[in-house]
Amino acid sequence: MTLRQAQGHRPLQPAVEARELTRRFGSFTAVDRVSFEVERGEIFGYLGANGAGKSTTIRMLTGLLTPTAGSGRVAGHDLARDPEAVKASIGYMSQKFSLYLDLPVRENLAFFGGAYGLEGKELEARADEVLALADLRTLGNTTTGELPGGLRQRLALACAILHRPEIVFLDEPTAGVDPVARRTFWRIIRDLARGGTTVFVTTHYLDEAEYCARIGLMVDGRLVALDTPAGLKRTWVPEQVLVVRGRELRGAAAALSGRAGVRNVIPFGAGLHLRTEPGSLAPEEARRLLTEAGASEVSVEPAEPSLEDVFLAVVGNSHA
């Protein structure tokens, strides 16, 4: 009973906790004192260029690599003290997720189910559920090798969540998959998170990162930013970008460049991009000034910064 009660309290703990997690390979530090927490039921995106330390972090959190220093808790279990308990409560889809291509779809599920201790009716029922979730219901008897890449990826995810893990770690799950298949895949990930599963996902597709509740940004083994997508944009791309379209803009641009709060005015195609300090210049004000300076048919729209802007700012900053 006491065990049950203890488990009942666990949702209060974060799903994943990393404390100063460090991994060195010889003199190379792949992951350098990384600390973060992932909330339960959250989709946590882990972003970074290739070689930034994303996979190494995941491998430490899944018990595949021993941290050189630091500690971590996954699903409430200490990585160093109880790696087996960690393994039993997580699902993992490695970067090179390896289904057995010579076996039919259902046999892959049966194997991974068995590897996590599922058998008989329970396994059958659960296999049906995940096949439905991954939209693979009709393909149970197809040889896995005959599936296109996007479907294999979904099957891999299905194998990783068969045993109802509290947390799934997905390492570059959509690498090399076409955009439509990536969209479908992310719909499944969101369904999974809605069902209460914590999702820890690495990617280098910045459009995908928008789906994440929070994003950690890795540069050269260090976690340099961690926030919601909106928070990251506020922090890292503080200036506002105004997109200006109209006629006779080039001549009128001089009226803006000297004004306080305007950082620069860049010709962009037939129009202009204005980078301004937030709140210093309202779009309407800019339109008025340009019209007074001789431009006509002027329209000014604020542009939303993308995660790509954030990424470039972060990388530029940490390399500066």
């Binding site: 993992y92 390896s98 010579d102 194997f111 189910g113 068995g114 590897a115 201790g117 058998e119």
Partner: protein, 389 residues
């Protein structure tokens, strides 16, 4: 209460562990059934090899061509030639001069030349000692040995014939020394009888090592090993799940080889089939374990195949006593052969199949293969990394 809880937890853990091993073994069985190469390697190749070796590698030589140089040309010398070439083991390749021997050998026309000296008949009549000369092409040791032993036997036969002729006549002398050759266990001196137990060990050694070497290395190459390490499946569970199906396949292979040996080459099974299976079982575990160890160390199918072939084929072929008797080896090789499990299996199989030996005679062989099996599996488990790095 606490203890009971612990027991329940313990049996639940065992149940889950068995499910995991079962999942591994089940998956591996499906791989085997779906991969024609594995089935070919395990079930077709051994039979083919058995036929090839059984028929092709025969040490039973027949109709060996021998040149005759009869310098005597008497009734007595012609009688000797009739005896020597009449059995069809050695056949006359025609008359030739002793000086030509070298040329004939070089061209491979004859394997030997029998030279009968010029006063052969006279000396026989005077009951003097006569020396016959047999020139043998020693470049092929097997043929040379056969010629020597056959010629020896035939000349003895001729001696006996001469003695019996004299016995019938007046003034009979003492009968010459009679040598009677009696080959036991393999009365017809058939190579197949001698070869099949050796072949069974040889074939089993290669295929078993290759089978596991390929499957575990494949798991590394595919990247599924990483997936397995991130799951609760333990090292020992992976090893057991991998070994079990191949062990079953190997036992089937062993029975197949012996069944074919019995059906095609009339190899008897004189001893206990149970002992045969028990020794075969431990031998297989050892060989499968060797394959496992290789693939754990190499993590690469190509390297594992080469290492597996070399480490199983050469020792099993050369050092097991399958072809070359261990007793004739120089002592360093004899010493080396002691750590080759195939040596013990070859000895045990010959004992069981041909001699009908039991545990009383074969326990050292059983012990040796069992020790090898335990050591190699334990060593593999120790070298099997739990983590990626």
């Amino acid at each position: 209460m606490r203890e009971r809880g612990g027991q329940i937890l313990g049996s639940e853990r065992l149940r889950r562990s068995l499910i995991r091993v079962g999942a591994m073994a089940g998956k591996e069985t499906l791989h085997i059934l779906r991969d024609p190469r594995t089935l070919y390697l395990a079930l077709v190749m051994p039979v083919l090899m058995l036929f090839l070796f059984g028929y092709g590698v025969s040490f039973d030589l027949d109709r060996i061509p021998v040149a005759i140089s009869d310098l005597d040309r008497t009734e007595a010398s012609r009688a000797l030639v009739r005896t020597v070439t009449g059995s069809h083991e050695l056949v006359s390749a025609g008359e030739a001069d002793a000086a030509e021997a070298d040329r004939l050998f070089r061209r491979g026309r004859v394997a030997a030349m029998l030279v009968i000296p010029s006063q052969y008949g006279e000396k026989l009549a005077r009951r003097e000692r006569v020396s016959l000369q047999l020139l043998v092409d020693g470049s092929d040791v097997v043929v040379a040995n056969q010629v020597l032993s056959k010629a020896d036997a035939l000349v003895r036969a001729e001696t006996r014939r001469l003695a019996s002729v004299e016995l019938a006549g007046p003034g009979a002398a003492a009968a010459p020394l009679q040598v009677k050759l009696w080959t036991r266990y393999n009365p017809a001196s058939l190579s197949a009888l001698f070869m099949v137990p050796g072949l069974a060990a040889y074939i089993l050694a290669i295929t078993a090592v290759l089978l596991t070497a390929l499957t575990v290395a494949g798991e590394w190459e595919r990247g599924s090993m990483e997936q397995l390490f991130a799951s609760p499946v333990g090292r020992l569970e992976i090893m057991l799940g991998k070994l079990a199906p191949y062990l079953a396949l190997g036992m089937l292979e062993l029975l197949l080889v012996v069944a074919f040996g019995a059906a095609v080459f009339d190899v008897p099974v004189r001893g206990s089939l149970t002992l045969f299976l028990v020794i075969g079982f431990f031998f297989l575990v050892g060989m499968l374990g060797q394959g496992l160890l290789i693939s754990i160390l190499t993590k690469n199918q190509l390297v594992a195949t080469q290492a597996g072939t070399i480490s199983s084929l050469l020792p099993s072929l050369l050092l097991s006593g399958m072809v070359f008797p261990v007793e004739n080896m120089p002592w360093p090789l004899q010493l080396l052969s002691r750590v080759i499990p195939a040596r013990y299996l070859v000895h045990a199989l010959r004992g069981i199949l041909l001699k009908g030996n039991g545990l009383a005679a074969l326990w050292p062989d059983l012990l040796a293969v069992a020790v090898f099996a335990v050591l190699i599996v334990a060593f593999s488990a120790a070298r099997f990394p739990r983590r990626l790095a």
